[in-house]
Amino acid sequence: MKKKRTFLIPLLLGLVLIAAGVFFFARVCRLKDTVYKNYKVSLSDASISEVFHGNLDEAGVREAFNAAVAKNEKNTPAAGDADLLSEMSAGQDSAGAEPEGAQELQDAGQAARGEETEALTDASVTEDGAGKAAASGKDAYETVFPDGLKDVNSIRTANRMIPILFGAGALLCLVAALLVIRAKKLDFASIMRSKITWAAIAEILILIVCLIVRPDFFNISYQPSTGMLYGSLIDIINRSSEITIIAMGMTLVLALGGTDLSVGALVAVSGAFALKLLRWDVTIYNTPGDYSVYPFVLVIIAPLLTCILMGCFNGFLVGQLQLQPIIATLILMVSGRGVAQILTNGKQFTTLYTPFRWIGQGSALFLPTPIIITVIVVAAVMIFVRKTAFGTFVESVGINRSASRLSGINAKKVIMIVFALTGFLSGIAGLIYSSRIMSCDSNNAGLNYETDAILAAVIGGTNMAGGKFSLAGTIIGSIIIRTIVTFVYYFGISAEATMAFKALIIAVVIVLQSEPVRNWMSKRAKARGAARGGVL
């Protein structure tokens, strides 16, 4: 039987439109950045729109643009300037080492202030912008738009297109979602009963609170030097990538009715092994540099293989020996960090190897690499699980192991594959983590990742007792956790104290998701639907 896939057309179209919107947005951001770089001032949003939305001829645009630049230069440091600076440096900073809560923010602030004073001295010494431009015989307008009106018009279109593209894209995605609902014959009551809905509602509520508390929370800026978009939203997705990747495997483990506590330790092992291969012997290559002792392919593959093997060990204990998963994986959780420390001799290696840096700090398609890796991993796992019978096997083993064995499913094999996959995914997360800090940290790498991954899966609607699971829900869960953390960092509260807020918000989410509350809500929704006399 062929399934109807009508929803795919609007969905793809919507995604393409949103992608185009991002592209134009990046263009406009790049313009702002060019202006900033050449004139050490940035055009505030108001003056940009003043220039581009007015229906002027070329001379008019030139005059208005130059006037805007001149006006901005006069009141340096412009407010917009400092904003852009702090935003950029915050972005850069968070792309660097693991944030230390308040510390990070303070650092970011100091860096921003430092750069600002630098910019000021620059401007006073060389008279900058206008002076430079005058020397080369070009005014601001010609420097920024070498192709004249053609460039201006393209920016104008971009400016006009962004909201349209985003709006239309979002609308089409909504239409696709409605089509899915229609095709699957979901009614409002069952949607209200779905845990994913509640997870999504919780995420939206948190984002709204973020927006109210900090209106600039949704700002996104573009930096040409790294070719990346920066902003809190991007940062949230970027930072959640390790947990998302691990949680994909963890969801399957939970669906089997098990728990994998060893993922955090595997993250440490993977990072330690990769750094070991990059540096090998600290006594010979005693300075970190842009080199790798072993081929880069080996640096990537060997840690992943190790993690797969360790995952298989877990799978062997749980599948063949039928041990309780919590205890079986506790073994590697305890001894895994010991292995990582023996690999690195208890030392912390650092490296400056460029290809390795790309894994965690590089960019592709305007986005940080971890996001791209996450998207690929998530897509691969989803296809593997949902387009083959594997997902059903996992669910059936999770619901009743002996019954699934009687119906011809090799439960041991399924368990082995799931744990090996989780190990592999932890290995990827470990590479990303160690690439972010360009070093290995056997004690703190992947600390508490197991609880975060389990939380992400459970918030996303996976049943801890085994059976039903939802990979899409897990992604939302992972993003919720990261949103909370990012949000709390904005208040400058210490990383450890974040846990209290995490606990409060998770408590709200799990109460909303709990069976009695969901049943009550869906009953109400059903009653209302019946009163209105229709579906939806």
């Binding site: 728990t259 506590l261 204990l317 020996l321 039928q322 041990l323 309780q324 919590i326 205890i327 079986a328 506790l330 073994i331 590697l332 959780m333 305890v334 001894s335 895994g336 960090r337 010991g338 292995v339 420390q341 023996i342 208890g346 609880t451 389990i454 939380l455 459970v458 801890m464 007792a465 210490s494 450890e496 104290a497 974040t498 846990m499 209290a500 807020f501 995490k502 606990a503 409060l504 998770i506 408590a507 799990i510 109460v511 709990s514 069976e515 009695p516 509350v517």
Partner: protein
Amino acid sequence: MREKHAGSTQTLLSRIMNPKYVMVYATVIIFLIIYIYGAIRYGSIGFTTLRTFVNFFTDNAYYGISAVGMTMVLITGGIDLSVASVQSLTGMLIAYGYTKLGISPVYTMLLSILIGVGLGILMGSAIHYLNVPPFITTLTGNFLARGVCSLISRESISIDHPLINELAGFKITLYHLVDGQWEKIKPITSISLPVLIFILMIILGTILMQHTRFGRNVYAVGGNEQSAKLMGLPVARTKIAVYAINGFCSALAGIAYVLVVKSGWNMALQGGELEVISCAVIGGTLLTGGVGYMIGTMFGVLLKSVIPALITFNGHLNSWWGKIATGALLLLFIVIQKAVVSYTDKKKA
């Protein structure tokens, strides 16, 4: 009366060899094997002294106190991940309360026990009435306690209060009879307050679990909650009470920990909850519920201390080998336990 009747139908041997005790026997036997190995290997350098043996209790007394409550929670089929954070919070409350605010530790101790019990009741209610998995509920409790602890203070605070000093210094020195005279055992062996609390809690726990109606309810709920409910047992009350008792044990363990380290730190005992759980599990408690004994838990705690003791006596192994050895022994233990159980199961069939 009823128990006497049951006893008359069984011989003593068959009662002792009851398969439900097999896990406990396995724990005891493995502890004895490791202890005898240590005695042969390091007997000459003092492994066999009474002092070393008492130190097995002293080293992990606070984990042991907490493990008593944890065993009950595990027997109901639940799990509690918040114990270590509650211990840390207790330490922080006592330390911050006295050193920064000048409140007597007596009040902060009472307060922390109240907090432990309150958090336990809250989590138990959420688990029972809202049907949230215990793992997630108590993980949230863990985050909450740890977070509040960090909100209070992020640095280690030392305590210098006469009461705490006195309690921490409290020791019962052991004597033995030599030629009709009481002399101190050499090397001087003494039992500290945390060890006393630990042993007392084990005894109380055993009485509570084996000789009261409440204990039988706990086993029934863990064996099959649905049946227990249909039998008319107070499932809700039992489950919530178990989490409350566990909260009490955690707070008590926190006080014992304060007596050992005399300070409060927000990151103290990180990951301790898994130590506590593994103590109970090594002691033969099943995570699926319904099976477990306090005496097994006690031997689980002893096993946890005997492994680092062996590494210390060896003297050549690096500290990070300790982690791997602990993992390996955990593995060995679980596999042997599994083998024993499946053997007896086969024999029974």
